[in-house]
Assembly symmetry: C2
Homo-oligomer: 264 residues x 2
């Protein structure tokens, strides 16, 4: 299971300040540290829609690609921000992402075609709601693929984010048990191998930072379940060293090679 760092977020802390004053130093330092910590890709987000989102995204992509060759995920809900990120890209970028919402299909999806990138489709419905049932989620996966095909993308360009439900929801854990089954069934539903990507921190979103130990434990418990179901990429805080080690151990356990121990 390949680890994607979710650490590059332009809407708080030192990175927010660096972006505001146009100083690439702290961003570059963060990118280097995430790579050293085990990140194999970097997700880049400028946070909720706001002024200068496009400019911030372009700044981040340029700053990061000046110090690392890791592929970047342009994580944006607005077409402007997405376009700016994909235009700034000089190495490998992934479009993250689109859904069946009309404005996503019209304005966001075509940007992946124009820039010839892989794209992530979210298993949420036309109104941005995540369905609970296995059948509805598999149906949405098929519809996402049809939409991507209609837009002119090759099937293999489409990766699926099956959407981890927050445990703060009454039925969050049940939805996530179904998610494991969704991931197992996707190759059959789309009739091809399907790359999948999940945002692990969604599991504990809405929980206080003071609950850090419980948040980490439950993330560590869900990570191998995702890996065994067949999830190929997991987005997480790569400075949570235990999670990165665990993702690597999962890869060894599920490897097709011999003597898996040696790869730990």
């Amino acid at each position: 299971m390949l680890v994607i760092a979710d650490n590059v977020q332009a809407n708080h802390g030192a990175i927010q300040k660096a972006v505001q004053r146009g100083d690439p130093g702290p961003v570059q330092s963060l990118a280097r540290r995430t790579e050293a910590a085990g990140a194999r890709m970097l997700d880049i987000s400028v946070g909720p829609p706001g002024r200068d989102g496009a400019q911030k995204m372009a700044f981040l992509v340029e700053a990061i690609q000046s110090v690392t060759d890791l592929p970047v995920l342009i994580d944006a809900a607005d077409a402007d921000v997405m376009a700016a990120g994909l235009e700034a890209n000089r190495k490998t970028a992934v479009h993250n992402g689109f859904s069946l919402e009309p404005r996503k299909l019209e304005a966001i999806l075509p940007l992946a075609v124009r820039h010839d990138t892989d794209i992530i489709g979210y298993l949420i419905d036309e109104r941005s709601q995540p369905p609970a049932s296995l059948e509805d989620r598999l149906r949405i996966a098929v519809e996402l693929e049809h939409a991507a095909q209609s837009a002119g993308l090759r099937d293999e360009s489409l990766m699926i984010d099956p959407f981890i439900a927050p445990l703060i929801w009454e039925d969050g854990h049940r939805r996530n048990a179904t998610l494991l089954e969704v991931v197992r069934r996707l190759p059959e539903a789309l009739d091809r191998p399907v790359k999948t990507v999940v945002g692990l921190s969604n599991l504990t979103s809405g929980r206080a930072a003071s609950d850090r130990d419980r948040k980490r434990t439950v993330e560590l418990a869900f990570l191998p379940m995702l890996a065994a179901a067949g999830v190929t990429m997991v987005m997480l805080n790569v400075f949570h060293a235990e999670a990165v080690r665990l993702a690597r151990a999962c890869e060894s356990l599920l490897s097709q090679k011999v003597f898996a121990w040696e790869t730990l």
Copy 2:
């Protein structure tokens, strides 16, 4: 996933000495500490066949049951030792366990009938070898059930240990990936809900104690995979606090209740 402590082993350390001099104190102290650490059952082993095995087992069962009501697993390969453990039992005991080996079927299996206990059947063949394929393992599960029925046990008395392969084996991890599928298929193969129990430390057996960090990480990675596949009981070192916390988190994630977070 219910945690069984594998900490009570009479063949080394302070427990060995206590058993030799007939002092129940250290055994009772250990039993109390395993319970406080989160054990819900205790596996009791006197180690490889040797002199006084039966006497040692009886001593351990009595010492432990004088301080805790936790069910005990009588973990013995010899009929004498098993019989002594089951006779000493005054609370709840599980027979651990039997296989298709002729001497197990003849001498060990009937003890579960005589003492009316649940029993654990191992997915290994007549020559004590673990088969690699899914089909062979499911076939053995069916044969174990037939053997238990013939001996006079109720179907529900039989729990299955699907046998975790050591990663030191060339194909250990592949065998364990198949094991997950075996556990998922057991209810269909036996046409009933099936309780399963695994010995987690088998995964890293044959590895040096100096490799402790890697051993622990790989155990933590496999534990939630087992839980998600449906394993109901896991035997482990309960003083590995992270593993016990993780087992509890798995239970919450896979619970059918609402608001799983609150049970963490």
